[in-house]
Symmetry: C2
Subunit: 149 residues, 2 copies
């Protein structure tokens, strides 16, 4: 039996805090955390502007950080919480990491990996839960782009 002390909602709120940090830093507000055995082992938010680096998505950093913490590159015992549906790049990284579970918030209808309907990008064993805290996670991104206009 899987021991679930904290709920998906609880952890997604932690990922959302990271999105808020991105917002405050004038970055597209996406946040991610990695959880292993009910413990947060990595936290990250989008840093593409500050680092001048298109690869600095929240998920990429969270995966690198979690692997660093665990001392191994596979995250099959981990859950990644991310406030936005991962893009193709991040989904590719999630596949290489053989992630155990992916929980994401708002859908990304323009860049999300689900656009690749013909091909499974993720590892076949990765469980996916979509739409967790979707409204808040989507709203902060809308707000960000409204502010930019």
């Amino acid at each position: 039996m899987e021991l679930s002390i904290f709920s998906h909602d609880h952890f997604m709120r932690e990922a959302f805090k990271e999105a808020q940090r991105a917002f405050d830093a004038d970055e597209i507000p996406v946040g991610a955390i990695v959880v292993c055995d009910n413990k947060i082992i990595a936290r990250a938010h989008n840093l593409t502007e500050r680092l001048n680096d298109v690869t600095a998505h929240a998920e990429m950093q969270a995966i690198t950080s979690a692997a660093n913490y665990l001392g191994g590159k596979y995250l099959n015992e981990c859950t990644l919480y991310v406030t936005l549906e991962p893009c193709v790049m991040c989904a590719g990284a999630i596949a290489w990491a053989q992630l155990g579970k992916l929980v994401y918030g708002a859908p990304d209808t323009k860049r999300g990996f689900n656009l690749l309907t013909e091909n499974k990008v993720l590892h076949p064993k990765t469980e996916v839960i979509a739409g967790m805290l979707s409204e808040e996670c989507g709203e902060i991104i809308k707000l960000f782009f409204q502010k930019k206009r």
Copy 2:
């Protein structure tokens, strides 16, 4: 008129040197360079084992390094030479970087981005040249896996 002092073959041989460095370091031998105005501005090879990080593909590092050199995150004036067809993750990063030109060596029939036949992963403006120095680039990978058996 585009000024081409060095040929694609020349630059792919430089990427191949990076693949050889990966081989010597017991990493899956894939190498990449980024060229801008006939000048190599980034070099990288696969470091997934040493860094314990699935995201440390040659292309990802080369993109990060090139953007760092240029001080901007878009590589629309750059050519990326990579010895192996990029995977989905790297193709996603190449798309975000709006890369000008992608020149790759050997095909990757298991993990290459061309498996996503139904969807264009790359930016529409990215020119692609496939099969440059394909034999050597493929051979070194075969050799690596033979050595591992």
